[in-house]
Amino acid sequence: MMRPMRATFRAVLALALGLCTLTAAPVLAQEPPRIVIGSAVIEPMPIAVPTFVDEGGAGDYARQISKVVISDLEGTGFFRNIGEDAHISRITSFDGGVAFEDWKAINAQVLVTGAVSVAGDRITVKFRAYDVFNGQVLDGAALQFAGTTQGWRRMAHKVADVVYSKITGEGGYFDSRVVFVSESGPKNARLKRLAVMDYDGANVAYLTDSNSIVLAPRFSPAGDRLLYTSYETGFPRITLMDVGSMKRRTLEEQPGTMTFAPRFSPDGGTAVFSLERGGNTDIYALNLSSGQLTQLTNAPSIETAPSFSPDGRQIVFESDRSGAQQIYVMPAGGGEGTRISSGKGRYGTPVWSPRGDYIAFTKQNEGRFHIGVMRTDGSEERLLTASFLDEGPTWAPNGRVLMFTRETSGGGGQASLWSVDITGRNLKQIPTDGPASDPAWSPLLP
C-alpha cells in the first residue's frame, strides 16, 4: 500500500540527507539504500552493475543479461548506472571478496554482482545486490534463477525486479508482457493486428493477421488468455484468445448487436463488456464457462470501458448520462453507480490499479488529451501527461507505472506507446517496430 504522503516526504528528506553525508562523512552506519516512489523528484540513485561473471559456456549471455538489468533499472528513472570505465575494481569471481572501498570511492550506493552459466539449453543466473556502504547483501537479494537460454531476458528482468523491489519497497514489473495493436497503412485505411512483446518492446510476436480490425486487448489475470474486440465476423464482437494455442472464439454473437470493450474479472471467470442494441450501449457480464449473460447497467446513455476493482467487488466505468463522459463506480453485480470524476472536461477509459489505490483515466479538456490518476473516490486527481491525443492507460503489475497510446495529429499522424510513472516522472516512448496502440500490461510472470 501507498504510504501516507507526509511519511513519504520525510523518507525522501531522509534519503536526500543520507546521500549528502555519504560523500561527506562515510563513518556512521547508514539506513539501507531506499527510493520512495510517489514522492517529490529525487536524484537517481548511483548503482554499479559490473558485467556478470561467465561461469562456463555463458558466452555473450553474461554481457547481454547485465545490459538488460541496467536498462531495466535505469529505465525507471530512479537509478543511474556507473559505467564500467569508471569502476576501480573488477568482479572476476562471483564468490570472491568485494572491495567495498573501491565501490564507495565511485559513489555507488548499490552494487549488483552476478554470474551466468550455460549447459545445453539451460541457463543459470545468480546474483547479489549489496548495500555498498554497509558492505552487506541487501536482505533477500541473493538469488538464483534457472531456465532455458531462450528465456535469458526474463532472467535479467527477474534480477532487476528483485533489486528494484528491495530498494523501492514496491513490487517489480520488468518480467512482464504487453499486448497491443500493431498498426500499418494510411490513416483512412489503417491495418491492425494483435501483437505481444516484453514490457520494454523486445521479443515481439504477432497473434492475428491484418485482415480484420482489432481493438483494445486485455490480458487475463493469469496472463494465459486475451479478450479483445474484433471485426472478424464483419461486425465488432468481443473475442477470447488462448495465448498459447492462439485459438480464438467470438463471444456473444447476437444479431443486430455490437459487443466491445471486454475486460476480465480478477478471477478470470467473467468478462464484462459493452453491448450495443438499437444505438444504446450498456455494460453486461458474461460467465465465460456457463455463457450466462447478466445486464449490469440499464440506461439510455452510453455505458462502456468497465474495469473491475482488484477485489472483484466493484466496477469502474464511463457513462455520458450527465451529458458528457464521466467516471462512475458501481457494485460488481450492477446498479446505478456513483459518479467520482468532478473536474472540468470529459473523463473516460477508467482502469483500476492492480493495487486498488488509484484509478487511471483519459481526460479531454480544451482540445487536449491527458492521462491521469485519481483516488477511487475521485479525490486527488493528478494529470500526468498532455498531448494532442493520449488515451487508454494500462497499469504495470506493481501499480506504479502506466503505459498508454499517444497519437500525433494530421494526415501523417501515427500512434505509439508511451509510459509514465504515477508521479508524472519518466515519460518515455516504448520502442516498437512500427506504429502501435492500445497497450495492456500482463501480470508479473511466474
Partner: protein, 176 residues
C-alpha cells in the same frame, strides 16, 4: 444477361473486393462507393449502375445522397439530414430489391471505445428514421466503426465535420 443481373454480379465482386477497400467506408462520395482506384484495384464504377438510372446504387449514392453528418458528440438528425434521409427512405421504398448497412462513424476527438458507441448511436438514429418512413427493419442493419475509418485525415474541423457521419451502404438483396 440483363443489366440488372450484370449489376448484381458486379456488386457481388465489389462486395468481395471491399474487404480492404477504404471506399467501403463511404469514401466514394460523388464517385460512388465503388470508386475503387486504390486498394480495390481497377474495378469499374459502372458496377453501381448508371447514375442516370434512378434504380441504380450510383443514383442513390450521388443523387439521393448516401450520408448524413452530425455535430460534435451528437447523434441528433439535423433538418438537412432528415431531408436526405426522407429521400433515402422513399428511394428504398421504391427499390425494394436492396438492403442497407448503415455505418456510423466518429471523428478522432474522443476515446476509442466511446467513439464506437457514439458511431452506433448515429447509425441507429438513421436506422430509426428510415424505419419511421416505412422502410422495413429487416432490410436495415447497423455497424459502428467509431474513429477507425476516417474519410478525411486532417486534424481540423473541416475534416472532422466530414468524418462525423452515417453512411447508408446498399447491397443487392431484400434483407441483411
Amino acid at each position: 444477361m440483363t443489366l440488372a443481373a450484370k449489376s448484381l454480379l458486379l456488386i457481388a465482386v465489389l462486395g468481395l473486393a471491399a474487404c480492404n477497400n477504404p471506399d467501403r467506408y463511404g469514401a466514394g462520395g460523388a464517385g460512388g462507393a465503388g470508386g475503387a482506384g486504390g486498394a480495390g484495384g481497377g474495378i469499374d464504377t459502372t458496377g453501381l449502375g448508371d447514375p442516370n438510372n434512378p434504380t441504380s446504387i450510383a443514383y442513390f449514392n450521388q443523387r439521393v445522397g448516401d450520408r448524413v453528418l452530425f455535430a460534435v458528440d451528437q447523434s441528433t438528425l439535423s433538418p438537412e439530414a432528415r431531408s436526405i434521409l426522407s429521400a433515402q427512405a422513399s428511394w428504398l421504398n421504391q427499390n425494394s430489391g436492396y438492403a442497407a448497412i448503415i455505418e456510423g462513424h466518429a471523428d478522432e476527438q474522443g476515446t476509442r471505445e466511446y467513439n464506437l458507441a457514439l458511431g452506433a448511436r448515429r447509425a441507429a438514429a438513421v436506422q430509426n428514421f428510415l424505419i419511421s418512413q416505412g422502410v422495413a427493419a429487416s432490410r436495415l442493419r447497423t455497424i459502428s466503426y467509431g474513429k477507425e475509418r476516417p474519410l478525411e485525415v486532417c486534424s481540423e474541423e473541416a475534416c472532422y465535420a466530414k468524418n462525423r457521419r452515417a453512411v447508408t451502404v446498399l447491397s443487392a438483396g431484400a434483407g441483411v
